[in-house]
Amino acid sequence: MRGSGTWMGSPASTAVRALALAAVAALSLTACGGSGGGSGGGSGSGDVNQGQNLKPGAIGALDQPFTRPKVPDIGEVRVAMDEGFQDYNNNTGAANSVANNYLLALTTPSPYFEDSDFSLKIDKDYMESVTVKSTAPQVIEFKWRPDAVWSDGAPVGCKDMWLAYLANANAVIKTGVNPFDTQGSGFDQISKLECSPDGKTVTVTFAAPFADWRGMWSMVAQGGNQLLPAHVLEQKAGIPDITKVGLADSPELRKAAAFYTKGWNDFSADVDLSAGPYLIQSSTRNQQAVLVRNPKWWGNPGGPSKIDTQAVTDSQAAVQALLNKETPVIGPQADPTVAEQVRAGGDFEVFARGGQTYEHLDFNMARPIFRDHPELRNAVAACINRQDIVDKLVKGIDPKIKPLGAFTINPNESGYVDHYPGIGTGDAAKAKKLLEDAGWKLGADGVYAKGGQRASFTIGHKLVDRRAQTVQLMQASCKPAGIAIGDAGQESFNDQQLPASDFDAALFAWVGSPIKSSLIQNYISKNRGGVANYNNYSNPQVDDLLTKTNTELDYQKRLALFNQVEDLMAKDMHSIPLFQLIDFSASDRAYAPVSYLLPSGGVLWNAFAWTKQP
């Protein structure tokens, strides 16, 4: 399930579950079995390669705009995706899935748009402007276009934003469980949300600065931020005006929550409205969903007149459907075999590019072997061969991929700096020197030791072929350096050993995001909120800087702070970045620009801009 969890690879599998699968004979299907894109495929914005406005914090400054391009009608397009559409309201914890976002990105109003370079741009099809009116206190003014309407003609604006505010910041959350079952970030820091009489201008005042405000009410951030047609909720729940429902617990709030959590489940055309270039015409849960042009859409109409999406969970099946020309666009799980098949197929285009999810090796800083021996951490960082790992395991999908040089900023994002040059080059001599300089002695068994501590540890990981191969490559390249690495791969690793910090070193992946605050909990000290800091890393300087990034409204300064954090973390060498997992799509060469972007729509993220060569 691509990107639907915190880390990649299907989560939580037990031996029993595996047995149960075996019991129903779910046999492995893998035994029988144009050049890469990388430009992002373009979006029609005309400024795809420009970075984000680096001074949006300045009063009155605007981020870069995005407008959907004018393209010819290319008729119906069939698309195979790795998972199918399920629920219209993707905000609730019960429903939240990246597969819903594939379609919702084309139907949901959003102040910001994530472009192919992962930059956040003001969506000018929806917004007249988004303006930072003040930084102390932080005040943001959202001006919706007058012609922005839902597919039943009701205006998009204040009510919809208020509903999201209510769902994410109601007072019940403080005393119990959120009746809206949603957890968007930043809403609890809002001190005031004011609407103009026409509901098209919304002014938001924050009690404390919130650097990731662009993700709020936008499809660029998952979970809790999707705007829903509040007027539908008013009608169905019998609430005259949602903006009059306060944050305090009340019968009205509960009524709103009841519809919010139940009324927008699955798909129902009468309540699941669109305010995007497409609307969902029909959906067979998790199998097939059909998008057609939204007749009420005010912007440039999308290229495809109809998008027929089908869930094809087997990547091979998706490729064969492409080769058979029955599905001209596919967004399967990235796999070297699949990539090779498509590239060999002739008339097909492959998009493969490092995405937001990154693989890394973490040292457990609570265990003496790594806590007390920074030289061992650096020696491991020297002896593993990151380029070799990338060449053997990832290049088959994306020939341009390189070893990763940072955790918090993606190589495709502006502000990225490689903080690990010369690290992980398979340099056994350097590793040995680091150990010997620190007093380690090579033992008769060919493994260094110091004060009773052998340079021997295990790497825990979930049982995924790629990870097992990564460990094998590390074992092979570190053995000549007198470092013994054991493989402690387990099916339950991500569910049990990892969160319990029960490992020497851990190999897994984090899902990154343009909404940077989501990464902080991975690296900040546990006592300062690092709930996902599984390797027990702690550096007060890093903690302070990360905390500062959360409140720094100037994007350029924020990037600089992240790079300072990266510098410190590289010096501490508590974790070694390995590579990005690949975003992948393939298409009939006649269709362009087809690419892949998460969390905003997957292969459909720019479907409105697709054209077709005759």
């Binding site: 029993v16 299907l29 399920q86 469980v177 027929d308 087997d314 099946a317 909990q521």
Partner: protein, 332 residues
Amino acid sequence: MLQYVIRRVFIAIPLLIVASILTFALTTAMGDPLADWKLLKARTPAEISSEYHRIGWDRSPPERYLDWAGGFVTGDWKTTIIPGNGTQDVRSEIGRALGVTLQLVIFSEVIALLLGMAVGALGAVRQYSFFDYAATGAAFFMFSMPLFCVAVILKFAGIQLNNWLENIGLGRWIVTSGPPRDGFSGGLGHILYTYSGAFILPVLSLVAIQFALYSRFQRASLLDTLNADYVRTARAKGLTPARVVVRHALRTGLIPVVTVFALDLGILFGGAIITETVFGWRGMGALIVDAITKKEPWMVQSWMMVTAIVIVLFTLLADIVYAYLDPRIRLG
């Protein structure tokens, strides 16, 4: 006969209860259904306990079992409960998936059975002939081929055929992924074209394997019967060879084939998992793989019970057909 059926149904009830307890134990052993959800982000204890309450996991396993079993009998099969999977009605989803699988399985099994019977019978009647050797060779070849390889080979053959058809202006007929999308729209010719194009590959892949099985059983069984005393007597009475085989031997020789057919059909209703996966049909097979992967307890539990019921029913059906085929078998 009616008494027999009633007795068998009553025997099946405790069998199904035991099956339900075993499957419940297996489903429970899949682990904490909220394990992944709890790790996605920091949760307060109140949130966690509320979520356990919502999905009913704050009760003991026996309570959960009784609740589920009561619901299953009265038609309330519950919904999906894992955060991120939405709230999907289990009964309607299994019904839908069963419908998809039925389409595939019925076509395939009927064709495979008829073909297997014909080839097996002919092989037995003309034992050690060229046809018999060829049929035996083909059957063993198909036996030795893993289904996913047959399916993949068929797919690539289908793609090549489509390329050829397109080159001669006939369009692309064969579909490699999923059932027909547009339902029964268009004229009869269009419907036939669409449905045959979508069905041919998955049906062929199932037929290839099942036909091999049935033909071998049919051949072996008919050979036994042809050497039986009553068949020799029939021949001695001067009946024509065709009448001896069709009227007397084949009927008895069908019994093992019917047993295998009934059991196979029951199992296949539980999903032709590989065929469905390779060809993108989201039937019972795809459903159970999905449900186990997502750790949906009620979906897994109800799926297993439906499969168990279908297998019990088909076994019963096989017993009844025995009596029809061979009056010597007493159902009392």
